[in-house]
């Protein structure tokens, strides 16, 4: 088990280095990316992970708060991530996002046997759940923003925010104890859902990303469209496959179908399958032309 862990670490070291870099780029007290942006635009506020809020701009888009989008760093960031996903796949999710990195990292370092971890075997069901959340998120934004049910429904951004929970945990680690003293009901639910259920108890540790991240879901829609047009993607060559299933055991996003093809509405181009497959059945590709034997993307 130890050897397997070290082998995975070695083969995917660039991604793990990138995920660590993502932490320093976006999470305060470092937030190097956000500091640079704030410096460039002359903003004297202290940047935190909230500076690149991964949810509110999506809420604003559907709730009629268009004025909030204007001049917003987080709105520019979210739109940038979605556009990038069209061309390169959801690389922010797979290579930089500190929220996903922490839960995935936790999943990898806690030696809970796979049989005790939750996983939905059919990626189509996972996809149904994921996009059910996205549809619900948009519906809530519309209902809350346009007061369709008065004040009976409230946005699901800030009240259930894994980024806020992560930032609070880090703030506390760097000496601001208050950040961990105050918990609201949604914060407690997120801590349990993101780190314990989604992180430790779910296979791959990306339960939150799969089921409760609207930006992740939208990024994957962009990726699906992009990959159909030949943008950067993971592809499967069935002629090289020996059905060892090691790809399925490794994919943190449960994105490998029964026929081993890649489910692009879930795949984050993390390259774990590419680096894992002993026969090289998975590869990263540009362009629309497919070789004989390469399975059609779903």
């Amino acid at each position: 088990m130890q050897l397997k862990f070290l082998d995975t670490l070695r083969k995917n070291k660039m991604r793990y280095i990138s995920l660590v870099a993502g932490f320093f780029l976006f999470v305060a007290p470092f937030a190097l990316f956000s500091r640079l942006v704030y410096f460039a635009i002359g903003n004297v506020a202290d940047p935190t992970l909230h500076t690149i809020c991964l949810r509110m701009p999506i809420d604003w888009m559907f709730s009629g708060r268009y004025y909030s989008l204007i001049g917003s760093v987080s709105a520019a960031f979210v739109i940038g991530v979605i556009l990038l996903s069209f061309f390169l796949g959801p690389v922010f999710c797979g290579w930089l996002c500190p929220v996903g990195a922490v839960s995935e990292g936790l999943s990898r370092v806690i030696p809970l046997p796979s049989k005790f971890r939750l996983k939905i075997k059919d990626p189509k069901v996972t996809r149904g759940l994921r996009y059910g959340f996205l549809a619900g998120f948009i519906a809530v934004s519309v209902f809350a923003g346009f007061k369709i049910f008065g004040d009976q429904i409230s946005s699901v951004c800030c009240r259930y925010c894994a980024s806020a929970t992560l930032q609070n945990l880090v703030d506390a680690a760097f000496g601001n104890a208050t950040a961990l003293e105050y918990w609201h009901t949604g914060g407690i639910m997120v801590l349990i859902g993101w780190l314990i259920i989604g992180g430790v108890l779910m296979f791959g540790g990306r339960g939150w990303c799969l089921f409760f991240c609207p930006l992740g879901a939208m990024s994957n829609l962009a990726h699906k469209a992009g990959s159909k047009l030949g943008m950067y993607r993971t592809e499967y060559d069935k002629t090289k496959c020996t059905d060892c299933n090691s790809c399925k055991e490794m994919c943190p996003m449960w994105a490998i179908n029964d026929d081993k093809s890649i489910e692009t509405t879930l795949c984050i181009n993390c390259k774990e399958c590419v680096n894992r497959c002993p026969k090289g059945a998975y590869s990263m590709r540009w362009g629309r032309k497919k070789d004989a034997g390469v399975a059609q993307q779903n």
């Binding site: 903003n43 004297v44 506020a45 202290d46 935190t48 909230h50 949810r55 509110m56 809420d59 604003w60 709730s63 708060r65 004025y67 909030s68 059919d122 189509k124 069901v125 996972t126 996809r127 149904g128 759940l129 994921r130 996009y131 059910g132 959340f133 549809a135 619900g136 998120f137 519906a139 809530v140 209902f143 809350a144 004040d151 009976q152 429904i153 409230s154 946005s155 699901v156 951004c157 800030c158 009240r159 259930y160 208050t178 003293e181 105050y182 918990w183 609201h184 009901t185 949604g186 407690i188 639910m189 089921f211």
Partner: protein, 194 residues
């Protein structure tokens, strides 16, 4: 699309709507967010002020500790918070904004971040906020550390937020705040994601 996928989609859709409904319930008494504008005088009832930018609705803030979520009450009852992201100058002159919480009888911690220089000691924004403008990238959280012996009181805190012109010391807006048990919530609660 097969039936299982549709059921999964529908189930998650309903769960998400339920989360929105639940957020609306506990959001009225946990980490309550509210809008601030000045000059508004003593805000004794719900009012809406209009000026540059969106309309600003304010009301006395009433937090009913009994209406909080079960997890909050069970695991973290003794610390409550208020928050604002919105302070608007709807007056006619530039103001150096000073904030003050009135009548605090137990520790309240301030956490302030804004794109406007701020003096932590004096709770004052050291540059003027011009008419028609709001403080950009504002995040103010007030953490009320309620001593255990206060928790059974009907009224735990009765005071309010003063918005003061730091140069003249004139109170421009006063928003009453009550934290207690069985209190009737009158409004003034904003969606934190606005």
């Amino acid at each position: 699309m097969n039936k299982t996928v549709l059921i999964a989609f529908a189930a998650m859709f309903v769960i998400t709507l339920s989360l929105g409904a639940y957020a609306a319930v506990f959001g009225k008494s946990e980490m309550v967010h509210f809008w601030v504008a000045f000059p508004a005088g003593n805000v004794t009832e719900p009012i809406t002020l209009r000026g540059a930018g969106p309309p600003v609705s304010m009301a006395p803030i009433v937090i009913d500790l009994d209406s909080r979520g079960a997890l909050k009450n069970a695991l973290n009852p003794n610390i409550e918070a208020l928050s604002t992201h919105w302070i608007y100058n709807l007056g006619k002159k530039p103001v150096r904004v000073q904030l003050e919480l009135a009548n605090t009888t137990f520790p309240v911690e301030w956490s302030v971040s804004a794109n406007l220089p701020y003096d932590e000691e004096a709770h004052t924004f050291t540059e003027r906020l011009y008419p028609g403008q709001s403080i950009k990238n504002l995040g103010i959280d007030w953490y009320f550390r309620i001593p255990a012996y206060y928790m059974d009181e009907q009224i735990v805190y009765q005071g309010g937020l003063k918005v003061i012109d730091a140069d003249t010391k004139q109170v421009l807006t006063f928003i009453p705040i009550i934290i207690g048990h069985g209190q009737e919530i009158v409004g003034g609660v904003a969606d934190c994601c606005s």
